[in-house]
Symmetry: C4
Subunit: 219 residues, 4 copies
């Protein structure tokens, strides 16, 4: 394994960990302070996530491409820009990083390290929402292939910040994030039993997004 690959894998691990620490941590903080008003909590949660995404993508894009998301790594594989083995290593790092991010958030807020989420997120409407969210994310990324890291970072940050609100599911749009969020019984959690269908919906939406981006790209 070359030094570059090592750095890439470390960047995917660390970036995903910090992303999850933000998603889960700001959800806890928002809910604790918002006095029962979930909109205020989600406002804090979405702004913090958007801010963190902008920074993390800006900083890690030159190292690993800043995927932090198996859907994005799969799309890179599909486009032939990355081999299967590296893609699998990326996904493993994303999964591990996401879990570690949840642990960090819990440690910072003095909560048990791993928890089983009781938050029900299921039903056709939620799945459509995840499909739309993932479709949009991969479409945006697919149409930004030639942009600078800063431009991609701003786009993804704005997209996810908006999608927290315009999708009924608050836009997970990321299987690694979805799995990790099953282990926190806080604002950002999802029941483990509901995670698989979220991932299926994400996969379908993402595939459609990749396909549309390819069709729309000027040749």
């Amino acid at each position: 394994m070359t030094a570059n690959v090592q750095r890439s894998l470390a960047a995917e691990f660390l970036g995903t960990a910090l992303l999850l620490a933000t998603v889960v941590g700001s959800g806890i903080m928002g809910e604790r302070l918002a006095g029962g008003n979930a909109a205020i909590a989600l406002l804090a949660n979405s702004l913090a996530t958007a801010g963190a995404l902008f920074v993390l993508i800006s900083v890690f894009a030159p190292i690993s491409g800043a995927h932090f998301n198996p859907l994005v790594s799969a799309a890179e594989r599909f486009a032939g820009r990355q081999c299967t083995r590296l893609t699998l290593a990326y996904v493993a790092m994303q999964g591990a990083g996401a879990l570690v991010g949840v642990l960090i958030a819990h440690a910072m807020f003095d909560l048990p390290p791993l928890q089983a989420s009781a938050k029900v997120r299921t039903g056709m409407a939620q799945w459509i929402a995840e499909g739309v969210a993932s479709f949009g994310l991969l479409l945006v990324i697919g149409l930004s292939a030639k942009e600078s890291a800063a431009a991609v970072a701003a786009r993804v940050a704005c997209y996810i910040g908006a999608a927290y609100w315009f999708t009924a599911s608050t836009s997970f749009a990321n299987p690694a994030v979805t799995l990790a969020r099953a282990f926190t019984d806080t604002f950002a959690g999802i029941r483990l039993a509901d995670a698989p269908m979220f991932m299926v919906a994400q996969g379908i939406g993402a595939a459609l997004g990749v396909w549309v981006a390819r069709r729309l790209s000027p040749t």
Copy 2:
């Protein structure tokens, strides 16, 4: 129809659909969570709309110009940068996309696909507001003719985000959006009977905006 034109029309359709999904979807989410505080709902609604506009204009501008708005397409026609036929096709795509965006938002939030809005938005003050909103939008776009897609995207996003608050009508400023919002009985809705006068006011304001932008442009 060339492949470029096809892509342009698809971009207008898709971009307007995603814009409406954001406007309507984030309005529903904001109202559901805000516990009756309309300012918090509008804060979420305006921030999500601004974020989505930034992304959608950035991403689709190289393909179709990212109008998403018959007022903008008409101004392009008026400036001689686009033929009548393409302009009409753009407007048709915007209208269809806007309606589909409303359908998507309703599907994501488990609501009936099409609804008749009961929200009254009428009276001289509202019409002035729509006129001012559309004037400002076309002025900003008219004075940004030589800017990059990213600059235009940032300007329009900030403008509309602000105009949600500084106009009494929350700044529709877009006839396709106005018509589509008549078919959602949620936060972002407008009674169908009130839509025509909104469009008239938008047309007048936009025409004035185009005229002032032309007068102010350094030659």
Copy 3:
């Protein structure tokens, strides 16, 4: 009067009018919707103002320099970049534009065109706040002399957005804005009798800001 000067004066008039329409209009909207929570109203008011400032400075900077503020025009005069006559014309346009902006806001919200504000804003703490706000604004502008319009726009927007919160006076930092806000008895208003001392404090702070910026500038 050359066409360029005419355009500059029109830009100062129009830009200041739209700025005031935003400041006053978003204050009215924020207060109406916020259900008595002034922090939520000010959040809306400050975000809308920051967004508008970014757009207006971006768009009008190539035409007039986008001062919209007698303090800025005076600093330009002081730096020898503008003659006295043009400076006076700028200030007149700013004052007239600010008043028209208030009229527009009132028309959009169905309120009497001109009102006498009853909002007391006086006392040493408020004056210090205005001095600090104006000091910071002119310092920021003074240290951005060689920056692009977009960079200045982003800096001023962020500065004023922050200053709405970190100063006790919500940062007027602009004599034309201060005078015009005396004629609205809404969220953004200030008692006419309190306006002169605000302006004095602004002048002192601004002068200090210009002086410090000059001392700090690399030669």
Copy 4:
């Protein structure tokens, strides 16, 4: 002492003072207006701080590097880009500036100049939070060494804005800021007795961040 060094020290003093005036001032304003909802107060506080950081770093980076933080100055010393003596002078200016910023905030809000904070911020979870916050900050800065001032400013602003929410401690991440905040008994305060452990945690996190940034940097 050369004129350049004088300007650098003045910039560190002034920038840190304005940063603290923002942090403390917007905390006071947020708490006064938020009617007991701490999330709304923190939303105002975090947005104002992020806005101020963007402006202050943009403006002062060409003069002093815009550290405003002993952790950053120490990292610069450690990287060999700055001598020990200048680093100590920077830190002294940051400490003095931070205190003066607190005085300014109190003057603007008509409060006693110096106060002993009674706000308890202690315990392992808080220390982990400060460690994580400082780790992330130095990591972001370390990976941005070749970026423009504007890029660094945007990254740090977004990072700290997010970290206010995702860390349980609201992310002080700065020993000079921590010490100064012990002298305000308002929203942003920290009990003086709790400050030392915050600084220790910050130092450990920062050292780790510098080390990881170095390991991840493409050579």
